[in-house]
Symmetry: C2
Subunit: 470 residues, 2 copies
């Protein structure tokens, strides 16, 4: 198969021109109906065919008894049928010449020997006819480009963006998709929730996303890579163009045992994974917060020209904790050079020389909060060997100012330097207001110093990979 064919094969899972849904019901609360209503609510731009043995109408759409009666070979079939009826439907798909099917039922490779045999039969039927199968135990895909969602969880319209996610779990097409839409400002391109990965796996999807023009940042949650070598080779190639962030679930023996249970994955040994993936330029994080936090920074910010950080904080404790976090992440904080010192000297009393991290409390007392931040940030940004800036704020009325204006100005002068922000304590209202004002101009905001520094680290890692990798 050529690269172009493989790309089109996967593309049909995200942007199909037509979808058939098996398992929708005349009872409104069934899972199949959630799929249909999501497709309607999210404005899917292709044709939708509900399948129902009795025909009739489902959610305003004419239902067909089976794939043969559609008069069209659909690009994607989605099965929300119970486990017992899945094999038959997959064979129907194969017979009808359908090339892609998503199977949501569980109780296959995730459930012992018998389940594994049933899963093997599904895959056999698919492979015989050259059909690709996503799942079983998969809620499938989201695509903001086509408006497709095959999730079993009710979704609200999704914001389009440049972050794509490949995961085993359906969380990313359910609770987290809702969380992103309603609390975050970044947007999604494509999401794939692969479930048991009996056929379609991370290698297939990563290969597609690596060439998908909407996708600029790729986040992966995996509990075990079946094709480790292929993933490694592919990742090495993709990370030279787009950052790939990865969270491995099942990194401890206990976690690995759970992973084996719920998707039938064999979790590889942690140290082997980590070394190989790091070598391939993959940014590895420890938890879901890290996955989202790093993806956001990589989506919003330019890649820095080097790994060194300047930190500005209105509190001393912020400088201490940021220094600890930078040291743990291996990020260096260059000292302020003569030029920067001279500039700062204008706005800071002589008895409080600033370093990096810079504690600007004294500067704000003598020059006001806005002037304190502006002067020190400008001085740092003007220093060549400071490649990124992390700005720590505490949101109290005394330190209220138009930070977005100051940071916008800073970025206009230094567009090549990423700027990240961190809030150390704020009321709910102030926090939301500042979050919106900074994120709307593309500055990623964190509520934790460690998360902010982790994101800077991810930027540095990705920049290093882009500069030296390939």
């Amino acid at each position: 198969m050529t690269g172009g064919e493989a790309f089109r094969e996967m593309k049909g899972f995200f942007n199909p021109r037509s979808v058939a849904v098996a398992g929708a019901s005349k009872t409104a609360t069934k899972l199949g109906n959630v799929v249909l209503s999501n497709l309607l609510r999210l404005g899917f731009r292709g044709r939708v065919y509900p399948l129902h043995p009795e025909g009739g109408e489902l959610m305003g759409l004419p239902a067909h008894p089976d794939l043969h009666s559609l008069g069209e070979r659909v690009e994607l079939a989605v099965s929300v049928l119970p486990r017992e009826r899945t094999q038959e439907f997959v064979e129907e798909c194969a017979a009808a010449g359908v090339k892609r099917v998503i199977v949501s039922a569980a109780g296959f490779g995730d459930d012992g020997e018998e389940g594994r045999r049933m899963q093997d039969r599904l895959v056999e039927a698919a492979r015989r006819s050259g059909m690709r199968l996503m799942g079983p135990n998969s809620v499938g895909t989201l695509s903001t480009e086509s408006g497709l969602a095959t999730s079993l969880m009710t979704l609200e319209p999704l914001r389009a963006g440049d972050i794509s996610i490949v995961a085993q779990t359906g969380l990313f097409a359910g609770g987290f998709a809702r969380w992103i839409s309603s609390t975050q400002r970044f947007g999604l391109a494509k999401v794939a929730c692969l479930g048991n990965k009996a056929d379609v796996d991370e290698v297939d999807v990563l290969s597609y996303l690596g060439n998908d023009s909407q996708t600029r940042v790729i986040a992966v949650y995996t509990e075990g890579l079946g094709r480790g070598r292929e993933f490694w080779e592919l990742a090495r190639e993709v990370t030279a163009r787009k950052p790939v962030i990865l969270l491995k679930g099942g990194r401890t023996d206990l976690g690995a045992r759970m992973a084996a249970g719920h998707t039938g994955s064999l979790a590889g040994m942690d140290a082997v994974y980590r070394g190989a993936l790091a070598q391939a330029g993959v940014i590895q994080v420890e938890d879901l917060e890290g996955l989202f936090g790093c993806a956001k920074a990589l989506s919003y910010c330019p890649l820095p020209r080097g790994p060194q950080l300047g930190v500005v904080s209105i509190t001393g404790a912020g400088t201490v904790l940021a220094a600890d976090a930078c040291r743990r992440r291996g990020l260096s904080l260059p000292p302020l050079r003569e030029g920067a010192r001279r500039r700062i000297a204008r706005s800071v009393p002589a008895w409080a020389p600033l370093g990096n991290p810079a504690d600007i409390w004294s500067a704000t007392l003598s020059s006001g909060v806005e002037e304190g931040y502006r002067e020190v940030l400008q001085a740092m940004a003007g220093q060549e060997d400071i490649h990124m800036l992390a700005v720590l704020f505490t949101l109290v009325p005394e330190s209220e100012f138009d930070a977005a204006a100051v940071l916008r100005e800073l970025r206009e002068e230094h567009p090549e330097k990423p700027v990240l922000a961190c809030f150390l304590g704020s009321s709910r209202e102030d926090g939301e207001r500042w979050f919106d004002s900074l994120e709307s101009i593309g500055i990623p905001v964190y509520e934790s110093i460690e998360r902010c520094v982790e994101a800077a680290w991810a930027l540095a890692r990705s920049a290093e990979r882009r500069a030296f990798g390939g």
Copy 2:
């Protein structure tokens, strides 16, 4: 000094019957005015005396030119004067027989040799007259019992509770106090922000809080313990009665250098600290989120009778990541015994046997979400060697139910078992609604699996300390 005298000495920093504030101004925006307006807004129950050389009136209060003219020996003096006028005021306090002073000005021990000499002179003046000095570079204290706040940041009224905080940084009496009031449901008892710790230090305050009846949980942020041995001995004694959670800033060489700069603290070597403090029963966390997250659990929950956890999740990935987190924290997850299995068998299809962590997705498909959670949680809670429960939710419309009712019922039957909750993805509105409904019945809620498990670990550590320590 007797224990009772030492207690009263410190108590006057939190619940004084009278306070004099030096540095308030007729210009409304000055820091001294923030102190006065906080005292008024928070309803301080003692007498307030603004000091101003010209007398007159400040914020509706009669101002006095100096302490001598008050006609009363105030229990607490607060100096918001600039550095240059601080020595003189401390001497005035000493001469007027004042026994406690809080000094906010910076530029002392935090600023090189000259600053350190100036700081020594402050302390000398205080000690000569038997006065205790908090600071310099300190924003002082909060007390919900008396309504006192000496913070330089505008505060809204604070919720009373049983968590007390000792910190070097003023963050806890500024941004974080606002954050707690407006986004959290736990309340504060006392907060002390010690700054340079030229005189009053963590040992003084911990000793007081250990005996303060309002305080049940103590959180400490320190960048270096000047009296390490005394702190260790005292902590060993206090942790046998109340949990002490501690975050050490400046644990890396880089962080320690920053700490030396901003409060003049000498940060001790990390390994020595950690071993000794663990031995004293202190719960050590890695970041501010850990400090708040553990404090909340210790405030809300009973101490478990053992360290073992049961985990229930509606998503498989939740069980994998929870298992990883438990393993890393050394928390064990006992397997389900025969009794629990029998009970669960009623509501779960035979092909999906549940373990611990329990992935209840199948159970919810066959029995509904509410029944799935209730049956599995009840079965786990009924198992003797499961001492705590962590419940993971994803908040999508399909899994909506009255979780508070189910968990309340669970706790009524098993009041000795802490229950913690974690949300994996939700819309802002659903998240806030569920947060309020669960936290209002005393169930601590986390938005991260690792934070939830960390809090369970803190409960286990504290219970172990209480059972074996002393």
